[in-house]
Amino acid sequence: MSLINNLEKYSKTLLLSTEEKNDLNSFFSSGFPNISDEEWKYTSLNKIVKNDFVVEDLPVFDEDNIIDKVSLGFKNKIVFLNGKLVSSPKIDGITISDFKSFKSKTNNSILSLNSSMARNGFSIDVENNTVLNSPIEILFLISSTRNTFLQYRNQINLGKNSNLKIIENIHSIHENLAFINHFTQVKCDENSIFEYNKTQNNKDNFSLIDTCNIYQEANTTSSVNTLIFGGSFIRNNLNFEQNGENAESNMNGVSVLNGSQFADNHTFVDHKKSNCRSNEVYKGIYLDKSKGVFNGKIMVRPESQKIDAFQSNNNLLLSDESTIDTKPQLEIYADDVKCSHGCTIGQLDKEALFYMKSRGLAEKEAKALLTYAFTNEAIDKISVPEFKDKCEKLIAEKLNVKLDFNH
């Protein structure tokens, strides 16, 4: 059986509302996206969805110390084991609860699948004026002896003048296939500040579609840092909608891939109000036969004046067989707009390597340090030191050197 059959069968076991039924039908009538869809041109799900999966039916597992091993050690932790919420912290001014059904504004087949049948996830409500200094760490851990398909549907609501930082890690520790359809909706009320740090660091049996929709009111700053270190297939859809003036959306990404890993970052900023900003810095490093896709869409609506939008996507192809497809997609309908974008594809600078080696660094270390330096512009934007350290360690690990990149 293929995943679509698995899903059909699974859907019959659920009690669906009318709306969920509609979403389900719309998913089944279009199926999974395929490469004839412009948005999925370089990104084929075929190899994944042809497999036989168990849908949402896994016992909570009990593996010694796994949480300690994966966690960065923050006090405030939300933990999911095989889809089930097993622990969540109590924090003043913040309500954290298990999955709650909610409607999402945009739709596509992946989101229809999610809204119709996802039954797991978290809901975080931050009260007005609540400022949390230490981040909340969210772990989604998966372990199973069968191929597993899981969906999460999460929502985060930030009240006025609130401040929240999240560190999220979706991590599979098993040997069979895992395929996750992850969706998070974030609503940022006026004057709130939000930072979402994602690590996607998995083995080659792991596939992920992660959609994150962020809605920003006036005077909000919202930042998403996406750090990809592995997984056979990753597709991130990161969408910002600015619904108030003086909103700022920041996106930073680093992908370091090897083997035949694949990662696709699709981002979209919808500047719907005047006096707003967006900053986007994505760095891709591709070894072996790995493949990257970047598509950065920026929309400035006709009535949105004084928009400042910056986008860059820089890529290093560190082998002959790695590839990157990168595309800026600018749709600017207002006149008073500052918009700059640039993408580069290159190799490590030979002069710089000679320079570094002349100071005593061996070839491998010089290359790794230069590669790290290349990612630094994006890494530097992470405000949580523990997370930044972890990312620097993972880069060193991925480049197979014992260097401490911390400064």
Partner: protein, 247 residues
Amino acid sequence: MLNIKNLKAQIEEIKILNGINLSVNAGEVHAIMGPNGSGKSTLASVIAGKEDYEVTDGEIEFESEDLLDLAVEERSNKGIFLSFQYPVEIPGISVSNFMKTCINERRKQQGLDPMPATDLLKLMREKMELLNINSGYLSRNMNEGFSGGEKKRNEIFQLAMLNPKLSILDETDSGLDIDALKIVANGVNKLRTENNATIVITHYQRLLDYIVPDFVHVLYNGKIVKSGGKELAYELEEKGYDWITKK
């Protein structure tokens, strides 16, 4: 310390070095002068081990060891330091982080533990003081946005940190005003001992007023066409190169 015999090198079939002989002993300062394009930087790069150049003949010995078989970093770890004519900008890595990595990688090869952060900082501060470098400098990215003079100072800072046996200064004076030149020269002089040696590559005699050479060599068309004492530099300053090269 350094023995170069009949060294010939080329890049993509273009012959650049055409039989260089040069011998440098510990404690000595050698100046290499010569018109633009004569091969001075190429000689420096070949000694440092730049792979772009193909050595077609001759040999380089460093402390009685064949240098030509060694990789760039091995030469560096043996004590050869090249101060670049055009230092490379490396965005994304701070001066202190770069130095820390270089020092600790070297220690690793020597079987030593990393230098404790406080010792390292102390050492860096000491060398910065020697070169009159202000404190904000350590957190700036390597050479990124540095003025010409700052870049050259950064080269000598690295030299001071790595404490090489043989320093090759390629046009270290270019981009420096007279005050900076004095500071840098003073730094280089303070680092001199009877156990290390310096090769100063320059166009102008000016630097040699401050770093006084024991020998001056004129390089032309990839060959050393004349050698002498420090007076030769004054003679060149006065008469130009024509009287040598037209012969």
